[in-house]
Symmetry: C2
Subunit: 331 residues, 2 copies
């Protein structure tokens, strides 16, 4: 059996291009003892993958040129040679960027009963949703009634951050990159205030929307968003550092915020994290998030590209603002 798959043809310099990727045919062997064969339903593209396209030491090793890329995906078992997996089971794994695969089960997880679209297990009920959950509640130590600002608020993580903060009785401000996204945040996702960061000054928007300052700034963006937020934090404010999408395509290191010393007098905490630092909370997260999704308290948004041929475009679209909510490639 054959499957289409996406390889890294060359390392992107600056903004990734379609020509940095190749679509190839790979052989999908019959599963031997202990293996299963899976047909993917959906694959994920995520900003962190940009970092893996650079040849440097990081928290995940770099992708290799010419190899099939990897990333989150959800599929169904079509053949099983492992006692714990049955044909029809939904499974998640990192064998993304391909339509089908055969593999041992070490890093494959049975999802069990699902309460939403399978793709939601790559988004709101998956890694980005859990990133929002642990980043806001654990790293950000959010308390009821506080004021929260989240950047990239219409993205896979940001849109969940804002909705969890509303569930916790907070005032929520979000920034996004288009008027359409801004409208979505306030009309459908319950944000108290949203603005297009491309129009005017971030700090002015923060001063207008949160005159008493910010208790938590959930940083998905870095750069001038971070600097403006530091300027407007309340004493003992917390800044979960989750991502810096504004910087991911930089070819040279960019200076950091010029006002970091304000953290001293204000007693601010800036704390970086990745979701796997909090794997011990996975069961709590899934229970809470499935409840919130099925009760309609969390509204998950997806931008769907169809077919693996579209996967490079979907990935590139993460950096041009093409997605609202989770960017998904369906097969």
């Amino acid at each position: 059996m054959q499957s289409k798959a996406v390889t890294l043809k060359q390392r992107p310099v600056g903004m990734p291009q379609k020509s940095d990727f190749d679509i190839i045919e790979v052989n999908v062997p019959e599963p031997v003892d202990g293996e299963i064969q899976v047909q993917n339903l959906s694959m994920s593209v995520d900003p962190y993958m940009r970092g893996r396209m650079v040849d440097r030491k990081s928290y995940v090793p770099p992708f290799q040129i010419g190899e099939v890329l990897s990333g989150g995906c959800i599929g169904r078992v079509v053949q099983s040679n492992h006692a714990d997996f049955s044909v029809g089971d939904h499974v998640t794994s990192h064998h993304g960027w391909r339509e089908s695969y055969t593999a041992g089960v070490e890093n494959i997880e049975r999802v069990g009963h699902i309460v939403a679209d399978p793709s939601a297990y790559l988004g709101a009920i998956g890694m980005p949703g859990m990133t929002a959950y642990v980043g806001l509640l654990e790293v950000g130590a959010l308390k009821e009634g506080e004021t929260v600002f989240v950047s990239g608020a219409a993205g896979a993580v940001g849109s969940i951050v804002g909705q969890i903060a509303k569930l916790k009785g907070c005032r929520v401000i979000g920034s996004a990159g288009s008027q359409e996204k801004v409208d979505l945040l306030t009309s459908e996702l319950g944000f108290d205030y949203a603005f297009n960061y491309k129009d005017g000054n971030i700090l002015n928007h923060l001063r207008e929307s949160a005159p008493d300052g910010l208790d938590v700034y959930f940083d998905n963006v870095g750069a001038d968003h971070l600097q403006a937020a530091i300027m407007h934090m309340r004493p003992f404010g917390r800044i979960p550092l989750c991502g810096a999408i504004a910087l991911y395509n930089d070819t040279e290191p960019r200076p950091g915020p010029n006002n970091l010393t304000m953290a001293i007098g204000l007693g601010l905490t800036l704390r970086g994290f990745i979701v796997s630092h909090f794997n011990h909370l996975a069961a709590d997260f899934r229970r809470d998030m499935e409840n919130w999704v099925t009760s309609g308290q969390i509204n998950y948004k997806e931008t769907i590209y169809n077919g693996i041929d579209q996967a490079p475009d979907a990935f590139i679209g993460l950096f041009t603002g093409a997605n609202t909510g989770k960017m998904i490639v369906n097969f």
Copy 2:
């Protein structure tokens, strides 16, 4: 009665100059009911005072032009019209930058029995010592056996940070601005490794002295020290942000570290603080530090200027590296 006192003549621009200060004579009235009169023995000059010379909103209000400056001091009561204070009592207050004063007792503290030079209660057993103690143990959450780097290691705070870390069984690395200070750190204060940051590359020194990376970086300096330390932190490392003396005389905001995004994958915490955020630990601190000083486990260093006329020079010397340990003006 008359007392000499120091006023701010004009706001310094960049490095403070002697001509930014005036020495005047002020009247010290007889204490009325509820007041005491104090003759200061020693006054403190501290880097944070530079911030108060700028006219901007901060965690302490700015000094006013033409007014007598204020700051930490220790003295003895010479007249008392308050039942709780007796002639001869040692008292600390913020009525520094003058030889004598008469005041109500609201912000004056009786020191009680002292176990070291009075000036030590402005240094190792005072605000800078407590800054080191809470910054390292609370903010830095230091654990036995970890590797600690402190900048400004020969200063009032840094010299105590390093010695507390050694007491806690840690490996300690320090940077300072002269060979003489570097020698003091390793020969008298027990540092495992020290270097002159003016010679060669900070990051190279860190790689050489701590090949497995840093668990805690206690930042007194900011700028390239902070950037180099971030580059060399271990996963889940902590960076107490205590000061940024390299930046205090800047006339324009300076860019921050260009590698702050490394905090994400490494799960680093950068947390600013000032000592008054931890006033609830004052009694614990005094008990521990007096024990460490009297047992010889903590060796406190002072650089002493004599006479109030020297106070501006002592203050300016903080920014030229003139002090080893606590900078003190004795009367």
